[in-house]
Subunit: 316 residues, 2 copies
């Protein structure tokens, strides 16, 4: 019998196995398993999240400028803080790269990291550089709660409204366009190159009483699946209410693709998905797309999804 | 004219160029460039450091168990906090790996990270897993000051005593042994596989009035060079006072190597080097090895060092 590989169990199987090995301490308020962990440091709470990007998997040197890659690396980490209703204070970045990487390229990545951080009042405070066969960028984002409450994945209750805020399917459409050798429509290609997470919306959702929230990075179905699992509920999406932006509809039409497929399973736009108590006034930018009921998993009545609900880094 | 590569400028040239691009904010008390950065979060201070390990550069699968690699990844980051006179609270880890990596191996690394953290009362609070051609482990260590003062690299003053605490040259001796195909002396091989930083000594040095401190990770000459540069001073080492442990002397004798070379330019043991005001009582474990004078750089009168003063990841 050969040993199980990470390819056999997949990204989420591996994460589940890893989390069983962790131990907690009194300083850990939210352990690994949410968008970000929360630590108590004396009087303050620290919200921390780590994400890694690998060349040819998360970005391609021929498709993105180094500045765009830096923006993306920062944005996907800051979006995790946003999804807790926290705001970023700083990030650290470790970059491994081949020796033939140009200094100019690395400085471009750093400029992108710095610019995305600066836009949010945060700073890049350090990191590491080393050598590796493929460029690998690991970012750790550090933040603090905006208000008094942080929003986890686990608080969704039957009767809650499910709502989304931000772009859905744009980055997936852009990736499809680039993958077929095109460079336009520019707006979706740019969305793939540089995500624009709805940074303000996380704190607004927290203040509006959101019961659960997640950053849509793996795809709406997959990420709402994480909320459903963490909360012990079922989420039912209303396919008619899922926002399909005109850009996505037009791109799908031009490329003979299913626009709803991009919206429902495309990640990398870093939209927010949240649940709110029935009757709550949704914050600006949020659109109701479904409801929480008793049960498990995510259902989309009337829609038959082809393929995986989202992206698995060890299994595509 | 072809563009400069990171191989051309080397690790420290690249870091210097990167640091010029960073911007600070009111929350940044110590920016990038020390062993760890320091952030102000409300009433508390957060000390943060990031280091990345790459397969076949920082560890070899045939030389170390996954648990040892996990211990090492945590230890080298925690040692950076120790060198600021801080203590660890938590770490995050991002691990990129080929799909054929066994789950058991990854769990072993996590067990090593968790065990090293637990030994210090800290927790592993999350991270990321993704796919890459070479196993790459990026750890971010998060800590808080032990006492009221943090110790930087930049405070050494002419007249100060230079002292070291912890193993010097052990990991380098172990690496030399393994590199020649041997597995013993076991004690130095084990030192390479799993460093044992003097975790208690950092806070003691801070309380004893250390004016500057650094984690010896690149080699004593190289790291004292960082202190000399940050402090605007010269450091003069007394070659007669450098501690050469019997293990190192015996291993060097058996392998026809220069024991002082390992002591003076071997990294990866994560000893501490610190400067103290003249006449200060050195904390337990510290040995005086030199003094701080006006000038620049590091001098070792009577010793002619062959080769680089330390390790450069883009230039060996």
């Amino acid at each position: 019998m050969s040993a199980q590989t990470v390819g056999d169990v997949g990204e989420f199987g591996l994460i589940a196995a890893l989390q069983m090995r962790l131990k907690t301490t009194a300083a850990v308020e939210v352990p690994s398993g949410d968008d970000a962990a929360v630590l108590r440091l004396g009087a303050d709470r620290l919200v921390v999240s780590t994400d890694m990007l690998v060349q040819d998997r998360h970005f391609r040197l021929e498709w993105s400028t180094p500045e765009e890659i830096g923006h993306k690396a920062a944005a996907q980490n800051f979006a995790d803080l946003t999804a807790m209703a926290a705001r970023p204070v700083a990030l650290t970045a470790a970059i491994a790269m081949p020796a033939e990487t140009t200094v100019e390229w690395v400085l471009g990545v750093v400029d992108g990291l710095v610019a995305e951080a600066e836009m949010l009042g945060a700073a890049v405070v350090g990191g590491d550089v080393t050598r590796a066969p493929a460029i690998t960028i690991s970012v750790t984002a550090l933040g603090v709660p905006v208000g008094s409450r942080l929003v986890r994945r686990s608080g969704a209750q039957p009767g809650d409204v499910v709502a989304v805020c931000g772009r859905l399917g744009w980055a997936a459409a852009g990736l499809a366009v680039l993958g077929r050798g095109f460079r336009s429509p520019r707006v979706v290609v740019d969305a793939h190159r540089r995500p624009r997470p709805p940074y303000e919306a996380g704190a607004l959702a927290g203040a509006a009483g959101a019961t659960a929230m997640i950053d849509v990075s793996d795809g709406l179905l997959a990420d709402l699946g994480h909320v459903a699992e963490a909360s012990g509920v079922q989420i039912v999406l209303d396919v008619e209410r899922l926002p399909i932006d005109d850009q996505i509809r037009e791109t799908a039409s031009a490329f003979n693709a299913d626009p709803l497929g991009w919206v429902i399973s495309g990640g990398d736009d870093h939209a927010l998905a949240a649940t709110f108590p029935a009757g709550a006034t949704l914050p600006a930018g949020f659109v109701a797309v479904g409801e929480v009921v008793a049960g498990s998993g995510v259902e989309v009545p009337g829609y038959r999804h082809i393929g995986a609900p989202g992206f698995d880094h060890f299994r595509e």
